[in-house]
Symmetry: D2
Subunit: 457 residues, 4 copies
C-alpha cells in the first residue's frame, strides 16, 4: 500500500500569492489579462505551419485504421473515428471559414447536419448515438473534405487583411485546440472500438516494457490561504477556464505520483468492489448494475490479470499508474486508502509553477509509463492519466460564455460532470496547462483516467 514517508515529503510549493492587507476580492485577484486580441497575434507563417502540422496529425492518428475500423461506434457516448475526421473539418467551416472567409462555399451543405453537435433532442443535428450508421459520406469523400477545408483555411491565413488578423488568428487557434481535443477523443474511442471486438485488434506495435519500479510515494504540501486559479488570459484557452479568480484553500498535501496498478489491485483484493460503504451511492448502484470488478480494459485469466492497450493485450504491469477508472472507483479507492481526491483548485495551484511536460500524445507511447515520483525532482503533474478531482464542473465566478457561436466548448456545461486535470498519454502537449478543465460524467471509464491522492494537513 501507499506508505507516505514523511521524511520523503518533498519541497513545499513556492510561497503562494497571499492576499495583502486590506485586499478586497477584486484586489486579491491578479490584474486582468490584456484582452487576447491585443496580445501579439502569431505570425502567419508560424500559424500556417502549426495548422498544417496539427491537421496532419489528426490524419496520421486515423491512418492505422481501415475504413471499416473508422466506422465503429462502440457506445452511445463514443464516436466513430471517421466522424471525428469530419467533425473537426466542419468545425473549421462553421467557426472559421463561414465567419471570416468571404465567399467560402461549404463542401457539402448537408454536412452541417451530420457533423454538428447539439443538445439533444434537437432537429438541427444528427443524433449522437447514431453516428456509427454514417457509411456515407465515404472515406475518400471525407479526405477530400479535409483537403478542401485545409486549403481554404490556408488561403484565409494568407489573405486576411492585417487589421483583422488578430481576430482570425485567435479563432484558428481555438479551432486547433478543438482539433487537438478531438485527437484524444479519437484515440480513446478507437481503443474502445477495438476492445469491443472479440478479436482485439491492435492499433500500434508493442511499446518498450517498463524496466523501473514505480517510485515510492511522496507528498507536496501547501499551507492554505488565498490563491488564484483559472486562465490568466495570455494565450488561448477555452471559455470555461476563465476568468481567473481567488479561492481560499485549507492546508493540504498532494501525492507525488499517481496510484499504481499494484496499489489498485490491493484495493480489489481487499474487497473494495464489494464494500458499499466506500462508494458514492450512485456509484455503487452503477458498479453493481454494470458488474464492475476492475478497471475498464482489465480481465483475469487464471491467476493473472491482463490489460488491453492500443498496443494489444498484455500482462498487467503493477508499476504503471492505474487508468480507465471512473470517478466512482477513484473516489472509492481514495476513501479505502484513508485519503481523498484533490479539489480542482488544489491541483491547479500545485501545477501552476510546474513545467508542462510528461508522457503525452507526442511521446507516442499511448499508454501510461512507470509511475514517476515528484519527490526528488521537479514536480510532474502532466501526462499518463487525466486525474479525477473531487470538484463538480461549475462555471467560475463571473463566467459568461464569450462567444456562444463556438459550439460545444463555449456553451453551458452540463450538470453532473466532474473535473479532471493534467492530461494523459493520449493528450496533445498543446492542451496541457494548469487551467485546462477536462470534464466527464462520474461513470466514464473510456478516457485515460487515473488517481492522484490528497489529504488534509
Amino acid at each position: 500500500m501507499i506508505t507516505p514517508d514523511p521524511a520523503m515529503a518533498g519541497p513545499t510549493f513556492p510561497p503562494p500569492r497571499r492576499a495583502a492587507p486590506g485586499d478586497t476580492a477584486a484586489a486579491a485577484q491578479p490584474p486582468p489579462a490584456a484582452p487576447a486580441a491585443a496580445s501579439a497575434a502569431e505570425p502567419r507563417p508560424l500559424l500556417a505551419a502549426r495548422f498544417r502540422r496539427i491537421r496532419t496529425v489528426t490524419g496520421q492518428l486515423a491512418a492505422p485504421l481501415t475504413p471499416e475500423d473508422q466506422m465503429v461506434q462502440s457506445a452511445p457516448e463514443t464516436s466513430p473515428v471517421k466522424w471525428h475526421l469530419a467533425h473537426t473539418s466542419w468545425f473549421l467551416e462553421r467557426h472559421v471559414l463561414e465567419r471570416f472567409a468571404s465567399g467560402y462555399r461549404a463542401f457539402d451543405d448537408r454536412f452541417a447536419f451530420l457533423f454538428n453537435t447539439c443538445v439533444e433532442p434537437q432537429p438541427t443535428c444528427h443524433p449522437a448515438a447514431a453516428r456509427g450508421l454514417l457509411s456515407r459520406p465515404g472515406h475518400e469523400e471525407l479526405r477530400q473534405y479535409r483537403d478542401h477545408v485545409n486549403a481554404a483555411v490556408l488561403r484565409l491565413i494568407d489573405e486576411t487583411p492585417d487589421a483583422e488578423w488578430a481576430g482570425v488568428a485567435r479563432r484558428i487557434e481555438l479551432a486547433l485546440q478543438h482539433e487537438q481535443y478531438c485527437q484524444e477523443r479519437l484515440l480513446a474511442d478507437a481503443k474502445h472500438a477495438f476492445w469491443s471486438n472479440p478479436l482485439r485488434p491492435t492499433y500500434q506495435p508493442p511499446q518498450p516494457a517498463a524496466l523501473a519500479a514505480a517510485a515510492g510515494q511522496s507528498w507536496m504540501v501547501h499551507p492554505g490561504g488565498p490563491e488564484g486559479i483559472g486562465h490568466d488570459g495570455s494565450g488561448v484557452a477555452f471559455d470555461l477556464e476563465e476568468p481567473r479568480h481567488v479561492v481560499w484553500l485549507e492546508p493540504f498535501r498532494l501525492s507525488g505520483r499517481l496510484v499504481t496498478n499494484a496499489e489498485y489491485l490491493e484495493f480489489i483484493e481487499d474487497g473494495g468492489y464489494a464494500d458499499a460503504a466506500l462508494w458514492d451511492p450512485e456509484g455503487w448502484t452503477t458498479a453493481q448494475r454494470e458488474g464492475w470488478r476492475a478497471p475498464l480494459y482489465w480481465f483475469k485469466r487464471g491467476p493473472d490479470w491482463f490489460q488491453f492497450t492500443l498496443s494489444g493485450t498484455r500482462l498487467l504491469d503493477g508499476e504503471e499508474p492505474v487508468c480507465h477508472v471512473s470517478w466512482y472507483e477513484a473516489a472509492a479507492f481514495a476513501r479505502w486508502d484513508g485519503r481523498r481526491l484533490p479539489t480542482e483548485a488544489e491541483w491547479e495551484v500545485a501545477a501552476q509553477p510546474l513545467r508542462r511536460t510528461g508522457n503525452l500524445l507526442d511521446y507516442g507511447r499511448l499508454h501510461p509509463a512507470v509511475a514517476a515520483c515528484a519527490g526528488d525532482g521537479p514536480w510532474q503533474l502532466y501526462g499518463d492519466c487525466w486525474e479525477w478531482t473531487s470538484s463538480p464542473l461549475v462555471p467560475y465566478p463571473r463566467w459568461s460564455p464569450s462567444d456562444k457561436a463556438v459550439g460545444e466548448h463555449a456553451g453551458l456545461p452540463a450538470a453532473g460532470r466532474m473535473v479532471l486535470k493534467g492530461g494523459s498519454a493520449l493528450t496533445p502537449g498543446d492542451l496541457v496547462r494548469a487551467s485546462f478543465r477536462h470534464h466527464l460524467t462520474p461513470s466514464s471509464r473510456w478516457h485515460m483516467t487515473g488517481i492522484r491522492l490528497a489529504e488534509d494537513v
Copy 2:
C-alpha cells in the same frame, strides 16, 4: 376502396383433395414421402454449378455497397451486410465441411464465435446486437474466407464417394436454401441501413415506372373441408415445413391481388392509425410508442407522400402493393376493411396448384410492381411482398427437428411469431413454394411485407 365485384370472382380452386369415406387421420394424409436420401440426388455437375451461381449472387448483391456500407447495423434485429457474407460461409463450414470434408481446416477458428447464431444470452456466440462493431475481419479477409470455403465445397462435391453423395448433396442443398434466405435478409438490412442515413444513399438505379393501373379486386373461393398442407418430402425444405398433414377448412375466399398503396392511404386518411378498436392491443401500444402513422419508408412532404426504395426516394405509387407494414398494421387494415387476414392453411391450399413465379429477386426490380390481379389469368400468389397470415408459427403436428445440428432453421421456433407466405421482390425464386413458412414478430416492418385479404363465405 376495395370493391369486390362478385361477377369478377374468379374460378374456384381445383377440387380439394377430400378425405375419403372411412378415412382415419393417417389415411387422409398423403403417403409419407420417401426419405430425401432415397430420392435421386442431384448430379454433381449440376449441384456444383448451382452452388457457384448462388454463392456468386450473394457476392453480387453486396457489390454495390462499399466496405463502410457493409458495416452498418441500423437496428438490433438487422445485421451488417458483411456479417451475412461471413455467416453464410461459416454455415457451410459448420454444417457441410466440418461434417463431411475429412481433414478440412477452418479458415479461422475464431470465426465460429463471431458468425454463429445462438439463443442469447449464451457464451458461445457474439451478441447479435453487436454485429455492427466487427470491423475486423476486414472486407478483403472475408472475401478470402468465401473463396476458401467455396473451393473446399467444390472439392467436396468432386471427391465425395458415391455412397455418401445423396447425404452430402442434401446438406449442400439445405445450405444453399439458407444462403438464399440470407440474400433476402442482406437486401432488407441494407435498405434499412441506407434509410437510417439522412443522405439516403441509393442501392441501384431507378427502375421503370409503373404504367398500368392496379387490377380491380377479385376473389378466389374455396368450399372448405379437409385439405393437406406442409411439405410433401420431395425436394429440399426446412424442417418447419414438415410434416404434411390434414387441416379442416371452413369455406372462405381470398383476394386476387394484394392491397395497394392507394387503398392503404384511404385507411390512413380515415383515421386508421388513431382508432384503437381496429388494433390488436399490443399493436396499439407499439404503434403509439413508436409513433407509427404510415408504413415504414413512407414520409410526407407538404401534401405528397414519398417512399424510400432501394432505387432511392420517389413519389408514392398508389398502384403498387403496400409493403413494409407490420402484422399489427395488416390486421388493423383488414379489420377496417371488414375482412381479415388469411390463415396459413387457407393461403397454402390456394397456392398449391399455382406456378411458382412472380416479381422475385431474380427480376432485379427489388420493389413491388403494379398490383396484378389473379382474377382473369392463372392465379398469382408469389412475389412482390411476403403476405402476413393470421397464423402464429407453431410446429406442425408430429413435427420433430430432424437434425438439431443445422442451426437456426431446425431448432425450436420462437413463440410469438406470425407466419408469412409467398415471397417478395427480394426473395430468390428457389425459395418460393407453397409450404415455405417465413415468420416474423408482429411488430416487424423492415422485411418486404404486405397484405392479402380473406373473408368467410
Copy 3:
C-alpha cells in the same frame, strides 16, 4: 421421472364424432345451437339468488384482507383487490344497468374512468399500472358502491318486462361469468401481493396436508380424425369460445394427471434451467433476465425447498402438481421429458365427455391437491392448475365479436397469448367447461398454472 406404463394406459375416448362420407365442412359441424335468447331464460328468483350468491362470494374473498392489503399492486399486470371489487361493480353498471335499467343513476360518474379497462394508451381509462395509487375512493365508499349496484340489479331482475327478460338475463349471466373470472384474478393478485411483502402474510389457515402419494402416470389415447370444438351455444359462454367448428386431429395421447413437484424438481436438478436447447428462444432470454431457477413462489433454504401459498409458507410437497410455471417453463419441461404440451383442440376433445368437477375455488383449499390419476376412474381434467397448451390464442374460424360493448371479454384478443384450459384451485366451478379459453402471455407465472403432457401416438 414420469414412467408411463403402457399397461396402465386407460380407456380410449368415446368414439369421436367422425366426418361422414361426402361431408362438407359445414356438414361436419354440429348443427348450430339455437340462439341463446331462444333458450329458456333462467327464472328470475333463481337468477336473483345466484346473483346474490356470487356477489357475496366476491366480498367474502376480500374479507380476510385489510383495507391496506387491498391497496397493493405488486406488479404492473396485477391489480389491487379493491380495484377488482370496484371494477366488477362498474361492469354491472356499464353493461347491465346503463343498458337495461331505465333511469339508473351512476353511483359516481368518475368511476367509469377509474374502473374501466381499455387498450392503452387511451384517454378513456386510468392506466392499469397505476391502479395501486387509488387510495380514494376508500374502502367504505366501495362497499356502498357494491350495495348500490346490487340493489339496482335486483330491482332490474324484478321489474324487467317479460318480453325483455331473456336478453337481460343473458347479459346478467355474462356479467356473473365476468365477476367469477375476476374472483380468480383477485386471489391470484392477493397471493402475489403477500409474496411481495418480506413478512409473507397468510390469507387463510393451513389446509390439511396431503396424505396420499401422487398417482402413477397413465395416458388417454385418441385415434385422431375430425372433431368438433368450441362452445355449442347452450348456456352462457364468452365470445372467444365460439363458434363450434371442426378440427382434424392426429392420433395422440394425453397424460392422466398433471406433472408433480417431484417430477419438476428432477428437471431442475438435471440442469433444465441451464440448457438453452430446451427452451423457446424468447423464454430463454426471459429466464436469464429474470433469474428464474424454479417456479414462482418456490425458494430454497439449505437443502430444502419451500413454497409460499395462500396458507403461508411450507415445505414443498412433491406429490402435488407443480404450479406457477410460465408457458416457457412448461414447454421446456415437456421437451426435457421427451414429450410436448397438448394443443387446445386435443385437450378440449378429451375433456368434452367428462364431469366438470375437481379441486376448484368452491373447495376452499386454494392450492393444488395431491396429483390424482385419471387412469382408473372417470377422467379428471378440471381443477388444481390451469393447463398450458401449445396453442396460441387465435379467434376461431368465422368468429366475430357478438357485441363489442361487453368490454375486455369480447374484443380482439391480443397477439402473443397462449391458451390454458381446465381451471385451477382458485377457479369458481361455474367457469369450468371444455370450451373455456383462458389465455396468458407465455411469461406469466402468477396465475395457478401447471403442466399436462401429450405425445404423438
Copy 4:
C-alpha cells in the same frame, strides 16, 4: 418581468468578517466550536417535552390521511406516509435505544430490514421502490410501534445517568432533526400521492387567499472577499454542515424575494421550455423526455392555469412564489432572465445575520404565501420554498463523517445533487438555519422548490 429598481436596492450586508493581515487559512477561520458534548446539554424535562411535541406532530401530519392514503407510493423516489411513520421510529430504535438503552427489546426484529435505508442494491434493506407494497405491518400495529418507542425514549431520558446525559441528549436531538426532516418528506410525498389520483383528494381545507400583490424586486449587495460558512458547532446540525470554513466571494447581489408565478408564466409564454440554449444539456433532454411544459402541479384548462395544492386545486395565483420547479427549470429561468442562481456560499453569507423565520410548516398554510420583499424591512430568506443554488453538493474542506452509524444523514453524499437553502412552507422551524444543506437531484420537482436570483456586481 423582474425589474430591479436600483433605488430600491436595500441595505448592504453587515460588514463581512474579513481576513486580517498575515492570516493563514487556519487563522481566518473562526475558532473551532467547543465540542457539542461540552456545551450545556438541554435539561431533561425540556428535551422530553420537545420529544413529545415533535413525535406528536408527525402523527398529526398523518392524521388527515386514511390507512389507504398512507399506503400510496406514487414514484420510486417517494415513500408512503406509513413508511415515514415507521422509519422515524426505527431510527430512534437503531440510533438511540439500541445504543444507549440497555436491555431495550426491539418491537419487531424484522422492522430493521423493512424500515432501514441503505445504498442499493444491498441485502440489508427492503428496496426503496417497493415500500408501497408493505400493507403489513398494518396501521394499528405501527401506532403501537410508535408508542413503544416513545415510551422507551422517555424512559431513557429519565434514567440516563448524569455523566452520560450530554451524549444521549445530543443523539436524541439528532434523531429529532431527522424526524422533522421526515415530516417535510411526509407532506411532499402525500401531496404527490394525491396528485397521482385523478380524484385529486384534498389534505386540508382551503387557506385564506392572498390579498396583497407581490413586492417589487429589490437586491441585497455583497462586496465580496473572504467569509465563513458552515455550521459553527453550537447546537445540533447534520454532519454535512460542518466544518465552518473560509470561502472567497466575488461581489454579488441577491434578489430580495423569490421569483413569482407571474414572472415564471412570462418565461413559459416567451418559449422558455422550447429554447434549448437556455437549458443545461441534461435538463433539456429530461424536459423533452418528460414532456415538461410548466412546473409540477400546474395544468391548463382553456385559457386558465390551475395549481394543485394540499388544499385542493385552485386558480394559479401570480403573486405567489413559483414552486415545484426542478433545478434545470430554475437555472433556465435565471438564464432567460439574464441572471443566475446564487451559489450556496452567497446565500449562506446573506442569511447568516437574519432572523430564522418565515412561512414554514408551523404556520400551517402548507403553500407559499405572497412573495414578500426583503427590500424595506429585515431580510427574509427562510420559508415558502427551498431555494435552488448553483452549487453541487460536495463535502466541505476537512469534512469527515463524525459517526457513520447515524444513517443516511452522516454518510457520503451522492454525487450529482444540488444544494438548496432556506426552507419551505412544509419545513419545521427547527430545521431552519443558514448552514442547513438540503440537496436533491437536479430533476427533482416534488419538493417545494423555488427560485431566488443572483447576479455579479
